[in-house]
Amino acid sequence: MSSAQACVSIVDDDMLVLRSLGRLLQSAGFAVRTFSSPHELLESRGAASPGCIVMDLSMPGLSGLELQEALARAADPRPVVFISGQGSVDTSVAAMKAGAVDFLTKPLDDGRLIGAVNAAIEKDRAAREAHAARASVEARLATLTKREREVLELVVAGKLNKQIAAELGTAEKTVKVHRACMMRKMQVDSLAELVRLWTATRSPATG
């Protein structure tokens, strides 16, 4: 189960609330790390490990929304679940627009909190998987020679070997060799598979 490895980072300046939320999520089977200030979270550099962040919206020093911006700047992809004692419509809209998974008001309903944390972790996992898949395609693309890359682009554009040879000003036989090398390096067996990988790298990033 992915949530077993995933870690929930909780940020709240109120130690009593922080401990209670930590226990609640532990009791639901999550791995938990607690931080008593936004700066502690930023300094912990936990962006690499999967999971999500649960944080209070109003804290001294850096407000929750400001922390959310700081995380975005630090390229921390982890989804955020906001909790607040006094959720106004304005702040909740701003939080959700900035990509928060959920916005819960205190006192918290355990079912909703666990549901929100699960959704956040699932979102993180999907994003990380998509990211990993894309990274592996990018890595394979990086092994291609310049000519193989040209061939690939023309192949996925639907050109026949003959047309490619004409365009590149080379023999059709040479194109076939480049094409076989390219298919091998990209670890695909069919044209359809190649096209799928290629479009995945071209689609806008998610997560």
Binding site: L16, R19, S20, Q26, A28, I83, Q86, D110
Partner: protein, 564 residues
Amino acid sequence: MDSDSLARNRLAHALFRRRLPWPVPDWAAAALVVAVAYYLAAHLGFALTLKPHPTSTLWPPNALLMAALLLAPARAWWWLLAAALPAHLAAELQSGVPTAMVLGWYFTNCSEALIGAALVRAFVPGPFRLDGLRSAGVFLACGALAAPLLSSLLDAALVRWIGWGQGDYWTLVRLRFSSNVLAEITIGALILAWAGAGLGRLREAAPLRHAEAVALFAGLLATCLLVFDLPQAQNGLAPALFYAPLPFLLWAAMRFGAAGTASAIAIVTVTTIWGAVHGIGPFAGGAPQDAARDMQLFLIAMAVPMLLLSVAYGERDRARGEAREQRRQLTHLSRVAVLGELSGGIAHELNQPLTAILSNAQAAKHFIADKNAEPELLVEILQDIILADQRASEVIRRLHALFKRGDTLLQPLDVNELVADVLGIAQGDLVARSVAVVPELAVSLPAVEGDRVELQQVMLNLVMNACEAMSPATAPEERRLEIRTHAEKGEVLISFVDTGPGLAPAQYGKLFEPFYTTKAQGLGLGLSLSHAIVCAHRGRLWATPAKGRGAAFCIALPAIAQPR
């Protein structure tokens, strides 16, 4: 008095129920009370008559009738006057007076009550209350002077025409006039004052007040009996002894209002006349007519100023009470306004411990359900629940102390403790507005004397103002509120320095005026009330520009004890 206020209640009752088809029984009840009272009053008049003087020294029935009319709506007047007729006949026909004369007197008695009630009502509309200098003046001029005079002119003419009385016309006028003036001032004022004060007030009064009243009336009665109703008072000291009841009358006027004063005057009047009627006391011995005149002059001269004095005192006390109540209401209003401003912060302050309690309890439930609960963990959880609960109660306690409506309670206070309490209450708002508090509290401050709640309210007001000045005008990382306390020249100074945009020089002068506000949604009462509260503590509250940017608000309160 009781029967009369009963009559008044009945009358009022009848007014409210006038849509019913049978309002008559209620009028009848009121009229019956007046009839019985009239009959008894006539007998009291006979009892206070100097024999063989034909006119009573004090004739209460007319005053009673006028007082009843003044308390009743005009549409009930004819019922009440009609009810007096059988009582009048029953009382007067026993005394051997010709029937024509008895009927004539009924007519003139009614005319006195009617003239007096109509004149008074022309100046003071509605049911009469003896509760101000104006109404007392109108009653004395119209009810106690004009009405007896006009009805006595009529009465003397009737007596001459029927030919029953002795003496010339003007003597008859003078005799009847003076006995009726005295009755209006004593009996009339007594009924009206008690109807206004009500018997309910007696039951509500504190035991100490009861004791004071008992002391006053017992002392007055003893003095009056000693001076007016004992034979040995007929010596050379007599004129000086007339002043003996005066201290008691002043006591009544200053402490017991119109009702107490009218009661005291009634005691003096009855004892004085009773003594003369029984041939004892300083007024006995001379010709009855002279004795009656002397007593009437003595009693009227004493009663009028005392009545006016009591009414004036009552009016002043009421005005003071109203001013006090107004200030109390304003203070409460501003507390409620501050509560409104605070409510977001309070919700946060309560939500934190509630969240901790709920999450801890839910965690424990999950651990136990999963058979995963180690005793140490459960103890930790319970310990945190207790802590959170204590914190929530502390929030409630502080709020309760702040918004409880009560009278000012002066006690020695530690200013640093007040500051800490106020910061605790404002914590939620300070955090929500990202304001960093920098307290610089002097270690050993002398105590100040004051009302905890009121001073906390002033400080809270200044803290909230500072928050609003800085948020959103100042960048979050620069929002700083410095709170300093220190002692200087017998005063404890508390200053609140913010890093907001400060105030224009012209604003500093107007800040403490009522309804002056720089806030879009402010009432403009906070600072003026704070100023009033600090001044009431013999302190000062002022504002200056802070060094750099922002504004500084300072409170100076007189210290009451030297630091150890």
